[in-house]
Symmetry: C2
Subunit: 458 residues, 2 copies
C-alpha cells in the first residue's frame, strides 16, 4: 500500500479518538489578549506539553512575560538527517460578540461536516493535524525520518510579543534546516497551494493641527489653514497618478523578482470573481503590475483610517483643530520597516503646508517581509505532498499580509521557510462562528505526514 | 440736553424695571429644537406680543409648522416717512451639557456686570434692548419718527424653517425701506462696528465606495482602490497650490469688490492676535487676498468632516468599504447655492479614480449671500449711532458666516439691509454659561434708539 493510503486508513480507524482529543484541545478558553483567561492558557499549554511527551518528544515550557511557548524536539533521526522546525500557536482570538455565535465558542459542535469553535481553524485545528501526523508516523515506524522541532506559542493573536522577545536567546535550540509555518490557507477547497512569502509591515499615525480649538467655518473659512485640507493634500502626494509611491527612497531596497521566479508563481487573477466576492474592482496599486503582483511582490502605502471634523448625521460648520490619519506600508524584501517608516514620516513633514503643525508617530507592530525561493527543498516537499493529497498540481502563492514572527523565526533558526495550511477565507477566523472542515483536518494531517516523508528523501 | 444723554438718563432711572422685565424674558425655556419646550415657546411669544401691544404696536402671531413668528408694526409716522423692519428671534439654543453651567441656564444671574443665562445675548438680550429703545422713544414722544415693523421669529436656531416658508405670502406686510438684523456683534468691547454682509452657504456630503465590505489591507492592499485614497485625491484637487478653488465655473458669478468699497471696510487684521487667540496662523484660503478679504469677500470650499477606516486607539489593518466627507462652500454675491452645489458635485464625480463609486448628496440649509452698500442710508444711520454711543469712529465689517434668512428677508422686504449687535466672541453663545454685559444691554438700547432718530433725519 502507498504511504498516503496507509496514512488515510490509519486516520479513518482512529477518527473518533482524534475528534475527541481535538475537541478537548478546543475547549480550553485560551484567549491570549484577555487577562482573565491566563489560567486557561497555562492549562492549554500543559495539555499540549503532555500530548507531545506521550509521543516521545522532549518538551520545554519557555516562560515569557506573557504566555509560555511550548518547545518540543524529536531528534532521533540523528545529526546526518536535516531538522524541520514547525510553527503553530495555541492561543485564540476573543469571542465577542458572543451573542452572534450559533453554538458556544468553546463547545465544539459539528454541522454539515464543519467543526464550529473558536480556534477550530486558527490555529488549534492546524496545530492539531500536525500533532496527528507526527503521532501516526511515530506509531507506524517507532521514529521519525527527520529531526523535528516544534515551536507552539501562546501569543500569536497579540503580535507574538513573548516569543519575539526570547528568540535570540533560544537561537541555538531553534536552529533547523527547514521551517514550516502552519498557519495559512489554500485559495479554494480543491486548490492546493503553498505560500512562499508574506509582506512586512510598518504602521504610523499622522496628525495635523491648524489651531488650538475648533473654529467656525464661516468666521474662519479662508483664514485659517483647515487641517483636513492640509492632511488630504499631504496624503494625496504619497502616490502619483499611476499609483506609484512618490516617497524618495521608498523603492531603493526593493529586490526585483526575476521572470523565472514569477513564472513559478500562480499569479492568475479573476477580476470577475473579485467583483462577485467583494463588490470591488482590482483598480488600486501600481499600474504595470497584475493584481497578485501588486498584492504579493510590490510594497504599498495605504491609509487605513482618517478622521477630522464632524462626521455624524447632518452638518456642523466646523474647521477642526486637528485631523489625523493612520497609515501602513506593506513591505517586500529587503525593505527595512524602521527606515521606511522614517521616509514616510519625513515625506509627510516635508509636504505639510505652511501654518499647520504636523506630528508623525510610529506605531508598534512592524516587521520585515519573508520570502523563500520557489524551488527550495522545503517548498518542494510540501508542494509535492499537497499535489499527492489533492491529486492536483500544487500552486505556489504568496500572502499580501504580514506575520512579523515568520521573518524573525526564519532568521534565528537559519532555515529555508515555507508557509502552509488548510484555511479558507470563509472560515470566519477572528469572527463569530469560526469553523474548520473535518475533511480539511484529515487533509492537513496527510499533507504534513507526507511532506515529512518526502523531505527525508531529498 | 442732547438726545443721547436724555436716553441714557431715562435708562438709568428705569434700570431696575428693565432688568426685572429682561429676566422674565430670559426665564422662558424657549429651546426651539427640543419638542418638549413647545409650550415654553408659545408662552414666550405671547409675552413678547403683550409687551408690544402695551407699547401701542399692532401685533400678529404668524403660525408656522413649527413655532410662531411675532410680527408687529407701528406705522404712525405715516406714508411719507420710511419704514424700518427690525429682525430678532426669541428662541434659544439647547443648554447641554447642563452640568457645565455655573448657575442654571434659565435663572438669570449677574456676576461681574455680566448676566448669565441661555439667550442672555443670543438673541433675547439683543431683542430686549430693541424693545427698550422703542419703549423709550414712544414714552418720550408719544410716537416714533419712522414707521417700524418687527419680525421676531422662534426658529432661528433651527435654520428659520418656519419663517422662510411663509416669507413670500407675507411679502406685502414685510415690505420696508430698511432692514436691521439685530443678531450680530462687535469685534471688541470698545470697537463699534456695523456689518454690511454675510456669506451664503451650501453644504454637501460625498461618499466613496471601493468594495461592499471592509477588506484586509494585507491581502488586498495594492489590489482594490482604497476609498480613502480616492477621497483624499478628489478633495486635494478642489484647490490649487495657491488656495484658489479649481472647480470650473466656481468664480463665474463672483461680483468683484471695488477699491472704493474695500477702502470703506475695516480690513485690518492682526496675525499676532489671531495666533494668541486661536493658536493658529492665517495661512489658509486664496493667496493674494488679506485674511479679512478671504473671510468676507471671497468664497471658499471647505472640508468640515472626513471619516473612513479605523481611527481609534492602536491600529487596524483595514481597507474600509467606504470613506466620506462633508463639505461646505461659503458664497459671496451673486453665487447661487444650488448651482455651486452642482458644480462641486460634478467636479468630485469627474475626479473620481476608476473602480470606485462616488455619491454626492446636497444637505439642507443653504442660502445666498447678503451684502449692502457701505454708503447706504441704513448703514450710515446705525454707523453714526455707534460712533455717538462709543465716541469712536464706527467700523464697517462683514461676517464670514451665513444667516440664510437675512438674504431672503432683504429680498422679500425690498429693503436696504444692515446687520448689527452687541455680541462679543467671548459671550459663549451656543455653549454653557452664555452671558451678556449689562453695559452692552444699555449701549445696544442707545444705538437702536439713536439710529432710528438719525435715520428719520435722512
Amino acid at each position: 500500500m502507498h504511504s498516503l493510503e496507509a496514512l488515510a486508513k490509519d486516520y479513518q480507524q482512529n477518527r473518533e479518538t482524534i475528534l475527541k482529543e481535538f475537541f478537548t484541545f478546543l475547549r480550553f478558553q485560551s484567549v491570549s489578549s484577555e487577562p482573565q483567561f491566563k489560567g486557561e492558557l497555562l492549562a492549554c499549554a500543559d495539555w499540549v506539553k503532555k500530548y507531545l511527551l506521550e509521543l516521545g518528544f522532549t518538551v520545554e515550557t519557555w516562560p515569557t512575560k506573557g504566555h509560555p511557548v511550548i518547545f518540543a524536539s524529536y531528534l532521533k533521526a540523528g545529526p546526518n538527517k536535516p531538522t524541520l522546525l514547525i510553527y503553530n500557536h495555541y492561543d485564540v482570538q476573543p469571542v465577542d460578540p458572543l451573542e452572534a455565535w450559533e453554538t458556544p465558542p468553546f463547545e465544539p459542535t459539528v454541522r454539515n461536516g464543519e467543526i464550529f469553535a473558536r480556534g477550530a481553524q486558527d490555529n488549534k485545528g492546524q496545530c492539531f493535524y500536525v500533532l496527528q501526523a507526527l503521532k501516526a508516523l511515530i506509531k507506524r515506524d517507532g521514529t521519525l525520518p527527520l529531526n523535528i522541532k516544534l515551536c507552539i506559542e501562546g501569543e500569536e493573536e497579540m503580535g507574538s510579543v513573548g516569543l519575539s522577545s526570547i528568540l535570540k536567546e533560544k537561537a541555538a535550540q531553534l536552529k533547523a534546516d527547514y521551517l514550516a509555518v502552519v498557519d495559512m490557507g489554500i485559495p479554494a477547497p480543491e486548490t492546493p497551494a503553498v505560500t512562499i512569502g508574506v509582506r512586512g509591515l510598518v504602521t504610523l499615525e499622522v496628525s495635523v493641527e491648524g489651531s488650538n480649538t475648533d473654529m467656525h467655518s464661516g468666521s474662519h473659512g479662508g483664514v485659517v489653514f483647515n487641517p483636513i485640507h492640509a492632511l488630504v493634500e499631504m496624503l494625496s502626494k504619497l502616490r502619483d497618478a499611476k499609483g506609484r509611491v512618490t516617497i524618495p527612497g521608498f523603492y531603493d531596497q526593493v529586490k526585483e523578482v526575476s521572470a523565472a521566479e514569477k513564472a513559478s508563481l500562480s499569479l492568475q487573477f479573476s477580476a470577475e470573481e473579485y467583483r462577485q466576492e467583494f463588490g470591488a474592482e482590482a483598480s488600486g496599486g501600481e499600474q504595470g503590475y497584475s493584481p497578485n503582483e501588486r498584492a504579493w511582490l510590490r510594497p504599498t502605502v495605504e491609509v487605513n483610517g482618517i478622521t477630522g471634523g464632524y462626521a455624524g448625521p447632518g452638518f456642523k460648520t466646523v474647521i477642526p483643530a486637528k485631523a489625523s490619519a493612520k497609515l501602513s506600508c506593506r513591505l517586500v524584501p529587503d525593505q527595512q520597516p524602521e527606515k521606511i517608516g522614517q521616509l514616510v514620516a519625513q515625506f509627510l513633514r516635508d509636504n505639510a503646508p505652511a501654518g499647520v503643525k504636523v506630528e508623525v508617530q510610529a506605531l508598534p507592530g512592524c516587521g520585515i517581509a519573508a520570502r523563500s525561493e520557489p524551488t527550495s527543498k522545503v517548498v518542494q516537499a510540501f508542494a509535492d505532498a499537497y499535489t499527492e493529497v489533492f491529486k492536483k498540481p500544487c500552486q505556489r502563492i504568496l500572502g499580501g499580509g504580514s506575520i512579523p514572527v515568520v521573518a524573525e523565526l526564519t532568521k534565528v533558526s537559519q532555515s529555508e521557510m515555507v508557509l502552509l495550511g488548510m484555511g479558507l477565507a470563509s472560515d470566519k477566523i477572528h469572527a463569530p462562528n469560526e469553523h474548520f472542515g473535518i475533511d480539511r483536518l484529515e487533509r492537513g494531517y496527510l499533507v504534513v505526514a507526507r511532506a515529512i516523508e518526502i523531505l527525508a528523501t531529498f
